[in-house]
Amino acid sequence: MNRLEATLHDSFVEAERHLRVIPRNIELLIFATIQPIMFLALFAYVFGGSISIPGFDNYDQFLMPGIFSQSLVFGSAFTSIGLAEDLSKGLVDRLRSLPMSRSAVIIGRTVSDLVRNLLTFGVMLVAAFLLGFRFGGSVTDAVLATGLLVLFSYALSWVQALIGLAVSSVEAANSAGFIWMFPLTFVSSAFVDPSTMPGWLEAVANANPFTVVTNAARSLYNGLPVGNDAWLSLAWSVGLIVVFSMIATRKFSRSTSS
């Protein structure tokens, strides 16, 4: 086995370990699914009547891609919790003492979290349709939009991997993995038009990669011109993956239970 084959093999074994147990934790699956549906319904019914966005007749068409985007990003927090758990239970020590690929443990973890996020996303999409959401463009546009969101969520999983390995406990990973998601997703174009924010906040919101990704997906779902946002969000995701996969793998190679 060469290095690449070894990494793929070990990543597959790791991913399978996590995927195998998804059906065993029905509670987790149910709550992970209910949460985004609840968000969809709450935002659509609570804010739906009072918020109007220029260029959109219907707030739902604006809002729902934002909630898709937010839910996928929140889903990346599973990665930090899972890795912190493996570390605190001594499993990382065991894995590091094996002749296996160093990056495979994180690749397997992020890929399995991605699969779980996709499952949740599928359920959410169905719920959105039931609430009246419709694709404004072609199915290809919708697939591209979903791909951009999922890729960004995957990129953030690598950021989360680093957090999971850097903190000292599972509890800390739980907080540290979630806390920055709130400003990231709210100071953005996910729920409102940033031009309604105070000037300095608008600047932050517009520079936020989450805004770029959300805008790209929203335009594609609604069949609107996407401009540079698609390429920009692709660049953000790939950039984050490249940088954080290096840092997180390095961190993993030095992590040990205390």
Partner: protein
């Protein structure tokens, strides 16, 4: 660097930000031997194991497994070792069998081979009945047995057991001792760490005593015990007022100072197997001291540790 040694450390130093965890540790374990690394918490036992299992890099010195350097060729080392750390490192969401097959596949055994090995190990470690149950419901003893089985899946030439019985109830501890004795009988090289002196005495043929990052003594359990001067004589007399008299009679017969345990009990080192006991009884009798009891006690490793370090390596102190 001799090939004969399965495990070797030479002058290994490891410093964590403000503490010197290893201060020049030397260690040599011949192939097939069971060595015990004994010391209180924080002595450097786990750090030594982590250096030998490639988890942390030493700041100075060399460490080898089967002659292979742990820093230069970590992957070759990893193919030869099994590690059972302080925590039962199992995935508790998986079944016992799945845990074993999972680790076997990471050793690139192939699924069929991994399944076969898993089945053998489940039988051997008395886990066959629970093989397909999720580990979450396992007792501490079962988890540890599974943990060791996982370390053995690729037939390692050296097995590291870091405090294999810490946190187990007395019955599970006895079960674990049987497991480790079986491994030793099979010829696996074992380096185990423990803070339980009794455990090192029972399992290890050679004990390395470590304290504050340094090896302070090494020998067989018997050699270490004889360091405290052989045996201890314990004499109880009937009447406290004879105390001074009894001490003056005992002193010339013993090899060291006579210690007073309480009003009527004395303890003194003697040379083992030197027929001291009859002379002691006769001398005390001649002096008119009424003797209640005479006991000869071989020193425990606690005594040894106290003699070597000046402090007690009690498990209570260490786990608090």
């Amino acid at each position: 660097m001799t090939k004969d040694h399965a495990v070797q450390m030479q002058g290994v130093v490891k410093r964590f930000s403000d503490t010197l965890a290893l201060d020049g540790v030397d260690l040599a374990v011949p192939a097939g031997a069971v060595y015990g690394l004994l010391g209180p918490n924080g002595a450097g036992k786990t750090t030594s194991v982590k250096v030998l299992t490639t988890l942390i890099r030493p700041d100075a010195g060399t460490a080898t497994i089967d002659g292979i350097d742990v820093v230069k060729n970590p992957d070759d080392v990893r193919r030869r070792i099994g590690l059972t750390g302080q925590y039962a490192a199992v995935d508790e969401r998986l079944t016992a069998r799945e845990n074993l097959v999972y680790i076997g596949r990471l050793f690139r055994l192939g699924t069929a081979e991994a399944r076969l090995r898993a089945g053998e190990l489940l039988d051997r470690f008395d886990l066959a009945d629970s093989a397909d149950r999720v580990v979450k419901g396992f007792s501490g003893g079962m988890r540890r047995r599974l943990d060791i089985a996982m370390s053995l899946i690729a037939n390692p030439s050296v097995l590291f057991l870091d405090e294999p019985t810490t946190g187990l109830d007395p019955r599970s501890r006895l079960g674990m001792w049987d497991v480790i004795e079986d491994l030793a009988a099979d010829g696996t090289t074992v380096l185990l760490t423990t803070q339980y002196l009794e455990e090192a005495d029972r399992l290890a043929e050679q004990i390395v005593v470590i304290d504050q990052g340094r090896v302070i003594a090494e020998g067989t359990p018997d050699e270490l015990k004889s360091r405290t001067g052989g045996a201890l004589l314990q004499v109880s007399i009937a009447r406290a007022e004879n105390r001074e008299l009894a001490m003056s009679v005992l002193t010339p017969l013993c090899t060291g100072r006579v210690e007073v345990r309480d009003d009527r009990t004395f303890e003194a080192p003697i040379t083992a197997g030197d027929r001291v006991v009859p002379s002691v009884i006769r001398a005390l009798d001649d002096a008119g001291v009424d003797v209640l009891d005479v006991v000869v006690r071989r020193p425990s490793l606690d005594d040894v540790f106290l003699a070597l370090t000046g402090h007690i390596a009690s498990a209570e102190e260490a786990t608090s």
